[in-house]
Assembly symmetry: C2
Homo-oligomer: 369 residues x 2
Amino acid sequence: MEFTALKESFVIAAQNVLRAVPGKTERADLSGILIAAGEGIVTLSGTDTELGIKCQFPAQINTSGETLLPGRYLVDILRRLPPGPLLFKMEPSNDHIYINSGASHFELLALPSDRFPRLQFDDQAAVAQVPELALRTGINQVAFAAARDGLRQLLNSVLISFENKKMRLVATDGHRLALAETVELDQDIPGEYLVPVRTLEEVARLIAGEEEVQIAGSERQIAFRTKNTLVQSSLVEGKYLPYTSVIPTEFSWQAVIKRTDLLAALERAELFSADKINAVNLKLTAEGIEVFAQSADIGRVQELVPAEIEGGELDISFNVRYLLEPLKILAADKIQLDFTGPESAALISPTGSTNYRYLVMPVTTRATA
Amino acid sequence: MEFTALKESFVIAAQNVLRAVPGKTERADLSGILIAAGEGIVTLSGTDTELGIKCQFPAQINTSGETLLPGRYLVDILRRLPPGPLLFKMEPSNDHIYINSGASHFELLALPSDRFPRLQFDDQAAVAQVPELALRTGINQVAFAAARDGLRQLLNSVLISFENKKMRLVATDGHRLALAETVELDQDIPGEYLVPVRTLEEVARLIAGEEEVQIAGSERQIAFRTKNTLVQSSLVEGKYLPYTSVIPTEFSWQAVIKRTDLLAALERAELFSADKINAVNLKLTAEGIEVFAQSADIGRVQELVPAEIEGGELDISFNVRYLLEPLKILAADKIQLDFTGPESAALISPTGSTNYRYLVMPVTTRATA
C-alpha cells in the first residue's frame, strides 16, 4: 500500500471520520480509522458500531491496500504536518506505516484490523434527496428538544418521516416537542425512521457546505450521503409516541412579538430563575408580555416586551430554558406564541410559516411574588 | 446612592474586578464587588484578601455612597443589558439596589459589607514607571516557568528586581528558569519583590491596551496602577534562590535555528513523547538538529531541522514541554541554543539579544531507540 496525497484533504477527511470514533472503548480496533487506498481514491472510515462515518479524498495511488491506525493520533499527526503532499506507505513485511512529509519521517504501528466493522450499505434503498441547508436547518430546529439522558432511547432520538414529498423531523423530551418540515422535495419514498439525535447532529455538522444530501434507509439503518461523505446509523427500535394528537389546534390567546426582544428579556430573567424549576413568569397585557423572574437569594427582574396581544390577559410560567432554546435557533424576525390556558400547552412558531412548531408545557408553580 | 452610567464602561470595569473575586469562598462578602460612587467616578473593587483589583469609570453621580453586590451576578446582569445608559440606585431604607435599563427593572439584594476588606495602598512608595508592552512581554516570557503546584510558595512566584534602571523578572520551577529584562527605565528605586505568578498574569491581562504602568511597593505589598485600574497583591515571604550562580557562562556547543521550524518539529515529536518524562531527543550534526521521539504504543518520528552548528556532535534529551513553552512565547525569528554537555543545563535565547535567557535541564533517560 502506497499513495501520495495532500495533507489538507487527508486531515479534513480524518477529522470528519474521527467524530464517529469512540473516545473510550474496550476494543482497540474501534479507536482506529481504517484507511483504504484504491483507484485514485483514499477512503477513511470510523465507527462505534452504531454510528459510522466514511470520507474519501483523491490521491495518487501507487499500490492499493488498507490499514487501521489509531484515530486520535492520526489526526494529531496530520494536523501538525506542514501543508503540501505527503507519502503514505505500508511495509507488508512488518505492518509498519511510514508517513513522509518534508523532512519529517513517521513510523507508526498499525492496529489489528480483522474485527474492524466494515460499513455495509447494500440493503438500503434511496429514500429522498434533500437540499443541505433545508436538512441542516431542520435538524438544528428539533435536535435540542430531544432528551439527553441516554436512558430513554425513544426520546433520545428524532423521528424522520417522509410523506407527500415532505421530510418531517420531530423530537421531544416529554416537556416540549419540536416539529420541522422541509420544503417540497422532488420525490420521496414514504416511511418513518427513528434516528439517534447524536447521529443527526453529526450529519448537520458534516454536511455544511455541501449541496445535496442523499438519504437511504432500510429496516435497521439510515444513511446520509454527500459527494465525499457518508454517515450511517443504526435505527432506534420501537414506536414513537403519537405526537400529532398532543398538538392543540385551537388557541384562546396569541402574542406576536419581536424574537430578539423576547430572547434578550428572557436571558436577563434566566439569571433569576436558577431555583429548582427555572421558572419565568409571562403576563399577557394590553401592551405586551411582562417577563418576571425572582430568586430568594439575588433579587428580581421585571420587564415589559411590546407585543400584539389577542385574547386578553393571561398569567403563565415556563422553564426559561425551554423558551430560550427555540428562540435562539429560529431566524425569524417575529414569532408567534399561541396559548390554550395558564396550565396547558403553548405553541411557538415563526409568524407566517407553518414549517415549524414548538410545543411547550408550562410549569405550575408560578414565579410570581 | 444614585448614579447614571454607561453599561459599556460599567461591564468592562466589573469584568476586570471579577478576576480577583474568588470562585468559591466561605465568606459571602468576598464573593462580592464593592461599588463606591462619588465625585464623578464609580469605583469597583474585589479581592480574595491576597490579590485585589480596583477599576473606575466615569458616571453622573446624583448621590454618593457604596454597596456590595454578588460579583458573578452583577457581571452576568450587566453583560445581558442593552447598550446605553443605566440608572443605579440604592434605597437606604431596605438595602435594596435598583437597576433600570430601558424596559428592564432589576431589584437586587446587597451583601453585608462591614467586613469587606478595603484595599489600602498608603504605605507604598512609587518604584518605577514601566511601558505597558515591556511589562506585559516580560511577564509572559517568564510566568510559564514558575511552578504551579500551590505548595512551594517561593517557586509559585516571580522575582521582580529593580537595579540600574532595569526591571528584571525571574521564574523557575526547579527544572527550568526564565529571566527577562525590560528596556531601560527613566528611573527606578532598587529593590526586590516576590510576587505570586497568578497576580502577574492578571496584571498582564489587565494592562493590555494601556500605555504606562506605575509600580509601587512596600515590604508586604506590590501595586500596579494604570489610569483606571489598580492591581494589588501581597508579597511572598522568604528569600529567592541565588539564581545567577546556576546560569552557565561558558558553552561548548551552539545551534542557531529558525524558531518556527524547531517549534513545528517539536510539536510533531510531542505526540510520541507522552510517556513518563515526555522525552524528545536532539542530535546536533553538521547539518542541523535531528529531532527524534518514540513511543512504544504508537511509533516514532525523526526529522532534521537545518541549523548552524558549532562545537560538533551532541546527543541530548529534554522534556519536550520545557522546550515548546519558550519557543511559543518568543517572537524572535531565530533563536540560539547553547549547550554545556549532554547531562547539564542548556540555554535558549533570541539571537542578538541579551534581554531574555531560558535555562533548561536535560532529562537523563534518553529517548533514543
